[in-house]
């Protein structure tokens, strides 16, 4: 490549970077102008963007860009000089101009020339507008303005009474309070800012960040080791190193931080375009755009946020007629708010539209076979809201250009969860919808709890941590109960499923199962459900640098990465969701998406009852009160013996008669004798006699207020109720035993 060519390439690269920024600024300023925040300074900025682009493109021989920009410049100069006033139509055309220029720049980037796209219609429009709207309406407008004239009579502020121009569906809006519409509302940036900032390659910045991560680790090692020596000078130096490293880390992190406003900056345009297209009137209010986030996170939330905003406009906010009919102002309000809270960033997207029609959501979910109509009938409000996050559900009645293609909120949710965030939606019919997103500040360096288990240290990201429970002495021995072999702990009255890290990882001894030890339970949250992780020791919290694992270990869902501890050794970072799935402490996918709502139950006033849930046959769900189950056992089929016609097993030195529940419950089609080579048995005891009930599969233990919805019509069944959104038959244990073994109660008496 010749010297000249490479120079040309460099210049084009500069032009691209500069012009994209410029055009973004152009859009922003133009929209602010439309909002009635005029000022000749703003008009100058707009003019300058196009003027510069024209000049640079001309120098580089990009005739097409130059020509298009030139045509725009002609119109803008008339506006700037006050010879024309802006109209919505003019704004639309100017936005189209910036789009056309962007398109050409993209072509330039891809192919090296400015393309063949035809913009003659746009050019003609620009031409035509130059004579369209003379400034006569504005009184006392001097014939010509100086370039930097700040005179209040500048024509730019939109007089609300400006003659409406044909084909303008969006009308000029009244002026808004300045803080409502930033970043546009900020006074025009002083040019000196450009001189005090330089552009840095992101790769370079990432490299610096990595090095700082290393330095943090080296610092941790030095600080951990120097305490062993008592040389004053060394200690002082290590203290200084400590402080400087912390400061350096913070500063470098800051360079990667970007205000969320960078993502939001395009929203005024998105809102305007989408609202325009749908014939809606929407005012966008943004608050907290200076809230800063790491750039990797900014990148990750860009698309989900845009999707949500488009959704709000399309589904949320109603048409002006509907709004007026509902007694609301015809202009809808879409508000974005961001703020820091507890080391996380909260983003709220709120609209004052019609809210989500939960009935329609349910109907859709049923129509798409995501749930049954019976389930739909029993869903609480929260459960129904959560349906929105199911894959494949779209409530749009027709697929529009904007949304309704069924790829939607589930993707948004997955993307946000991928970066360790969470999303929550609340809606009120007729009042609007609020989405609340919580995301971490950064992904590179995170606070974590360090624990020891089986002699190894593990790091648990602090975001999934709920609380720590320490059981000592007798509490350690008795606090943990076994439910069919699954350990649980009663945490403030709720059963908390437990997983022993040693057992899950097959390392070290199993703690907490002997009588007099200390048990450390880390209460974690996976997919919205709490579970307890039992570890040998809880060490400390520490800032850790997340490092990826090698490809050989990519298949392990239990680990999110690794980090290097103060002593230079490697510690694995636990992936809480992966671990919960590995330990089976979270329910299957469908249950997870529609979690039961505990608050509903407490509100109902009914007494809650612990229920043991099991299946007989592939799809029949049954429950008995947990109190009736003395123990839950598992026997190999080979252990079954017979006395006469009665199946029995030897159990704790006694003969335990067995009853196959499926054989004695009316309406059961499958015989429970089919199945694997182990039997799941619920042991029931009465007056010193025991009987084993063979069930298909033990599912869960839940605490619910039981309302029998349908009286029993079948033998052996007390009635049916809805448990965990599924219809469940309640087994009448005494009746069942009587029918199977009439002598059971008699001889016991």
């Amino acid at each position: 490549m010749s010297m000249n060519e490479s120079l040309q390439q460099d210049l084009i690269k500069d032009l691209l970077v500069e012009s994209h920024e410029g055009l973004d600024r152009f859009d922003r300023e133009l929209l602010a102008l439309e909002q009635g925040q005029g000022g000749s300074e703003r008009m100058n900025t707009i003019f300058r963007v196009i003027h510069t682009l024209k000049g640079t493109a001309g120098c580089l021989g990009l005739g097409k860009i130059e020509q298009t920009a030139h045509r725009g410049e002609n119109l803008l100069s008339l506006l700037r000089d006050g010879k024309l006033t802006t109209s919505p139509e003019m704004i639309t055309t100017l936005l189209a101009l910036s789009d056309a220029l962007r398109g050409m720049l993209r072509t330039l980037e891809a192919t090296g020339n400015d393309g063949e796209a035809d913009h003659s219609a746009l050019l003609a429009r620009l031409e035509q507008l130059q004579t369209a709207n003379p400034v006569a309406a504005v009184p006392a407008a001097p014939a010509a303005f100086g370039l930097f004239d700040d005179e209040p009579a500048a024509p730019a502020p939109l007089a609300p009474a400006a003659p409406p121009v044909a084909l303008a569906p969006v009308q000029p809006r009244p002026s808004l309070p300045a803080h409502d519409v930033a970043p546009a509302a900020e006074s025009p940036v002083k040019s000196s800012v450009a001189d005090s900032a330089i552009r840095v390659d992101i790769g370079q910045l990432d490299k610096v960040m990595n090095l700082v991560g290393e330095l943090v680790l080296a610092r941790n090692q030095i600080v951990a080791n120097t305490t062993r020596f008592d040389q004053a000078a060394l200690l002082t130096a290590s203290q200084r190193l400590n402080i400087i490293t912390t400061e350096l880390q913070e500063s470098v992190m800051k360079t990667r931080m970007q205000p969320i406003g960078n993502v939001w900056a395009k929203f005024p345009r998105v809102v305007r375009d989408v609202a325009h297209e749908l014939g809606k009137k929407i005012r966008l209010v943004m608050d907290g755009q200076s809230t800063e986030l790491d750039r990797t996170i900014i990148e990750a939330i860009k698309d989900p946020l845009t999707h949500i905003v488009r959704n709000s406009i399309d589904h949320g906010i109603e048409s002006p007629e509907k709004r007026l009919a509902a007694g609301k102002p015809d202009e809808g309000l879409l508000s974005l708010r961001a703020y820091h809270e507890g080391g996380q960033v909260n983003i709220e997207i709120m609209d004052d539209g019609g809210g989500i029609n939960l009935e329609r959501v349910k109907a859709k979910a049923v129509a798409q076979n995501l749930i049954t109509s019976e389930q739909a009938g029993r869903l609480t409000e929260r459960e129904a809201i959560n349906l929105i996050f199911l894959p494949g559900l779209s409530t749009a009645e027709k697929v529009s250009n904007v949304s309704g293609r069924g790829v939607g909120m589930d993707v948004v949710k997955t993307n946000i969860e991928k970066i360790g965030g969470s999303i929550d939606l609340s809606t009120q019919a007729g009042q609007g919808t609020t989405l609340k997103i919580k995301i971490p500040l950064t992904l590179a360096i995170i606070p974590a709890l360090i624990v020891t288990s089986g002699g190894d240290r593990y790091a648990i990201p602090q975001v999934s941590l709920l609380e720590l429970v320490r059981l000592e002495g007798t509490a350690a021995g008795q606090g943990i109960e076994l439910l069919y072999g699954s350990p649980v702990y009663r945490l403030r009255g709720q059963l908390l499923p437990l997983a022993y890290l040693n057992e899950q990882f097959k390392v070290g001894k199993i703690t907490g199962q002997s009588r007099d030890e200390v048990v450390n339970i880390i209460v974690l949250q996976a997919d919205g459900r709490p579970f307890g992780l039992v570890v040998d020791e809880i060490n400390d919290t520490e800032e850790i640098v997340v490092k990826p694992l090698g490809k050989q270990l990519k298949g392990l869902a239990c680990f999110a990465g690794a980090t290097i501890m103060g002593d230079g050794r490697v510690a694995l970072i636990l992936d809480v969701v992966g671990l919960a799935q590995h330990a089976n402490v979270v329910a299957e996918a469908r249950d997870r998406n529609v979690p039961e709502d505990k608050s509903r139950l407490t509100g109902s006033g009914d007494q809650k009852q612990a229920l043991l849930l099991f299946n007989i046959g592939p799809d029949r769900r049954m429950a008995i009160p947990l109190a009736l189950a003395a123990r839950l056992e598992e026997f190999p089929v080979t252990k079954i013996e017979r006395t006469g016609a009665q199946e029995v097993v030897q159990y704790r030195g006694q003969i335990l008669p067995l009853i196959r529940v499926a054989d004695h419950v009316a309406g059961s089609t499958t015989s429970s004798s089919a199945g694997g080579d182990t039997l799941q048995v619920v042991v029931y005891s009465e007056n010193g006699r025991s009987v084993g009930l063979i069930v298909g599969r033990i599912n869960d233990i839940v605490e619910e207020a039981l309302t029998i919805q349908r009286k029993a019509s079948a033998r052996g069944i007390l009635g049916s109720a809805v448990v965990q959104n599924k219809v469940t038959d309640l087994l009448d244990v005494p009746a069942l035993i009587r029918s199977a073994d009439p002598s059971f109660y008699i001889s016991a008496a």
Partner: protein, 153 residues
Amino acid sequence: MSTSSQFCTFYVDGLFFGVDVLRVQEVIRYQEMTRVPLASEVVSGLINLRGQIVTAIDLRRRLVLSERPAGQLPMNVVVRTDDGAVSLLVDEIGDVLEVDESTFERPPGTLTGVARQLVRGVYKLKDRLLLIIDTQQTVDLHEKNGAALKKVS
């Protein structure tokens, strides 16, 4: 024939192996390792190589040889792969050898199992055989590459 290649050589369970010297990033003595629960038994653990986390693969297990006697500390041969550095744990390090291409031979058909997949060929040295292993294949722990990948689940 005058073409020759250089190999970094080492011993594993009495066998003499070599990897292309250009593939080797460095050779370091035994490092403390952090074991990885639930991982393939071939993975001995993770080592901290100047801030970089490197997976250590036990070549004895990878090549389905006998277990290293207790108390004998392995050496790390850190090799560059397409997916970053990986450490191969070996018993003892040998010299860097320059061998004549003419002494190369494809592995004999009698070589079976994992060795068949991992050993690219043999150099017939004067006093012994040098087995050349394919580093990329060695660090690829996908199921197709042998039975050594039982996961503890």
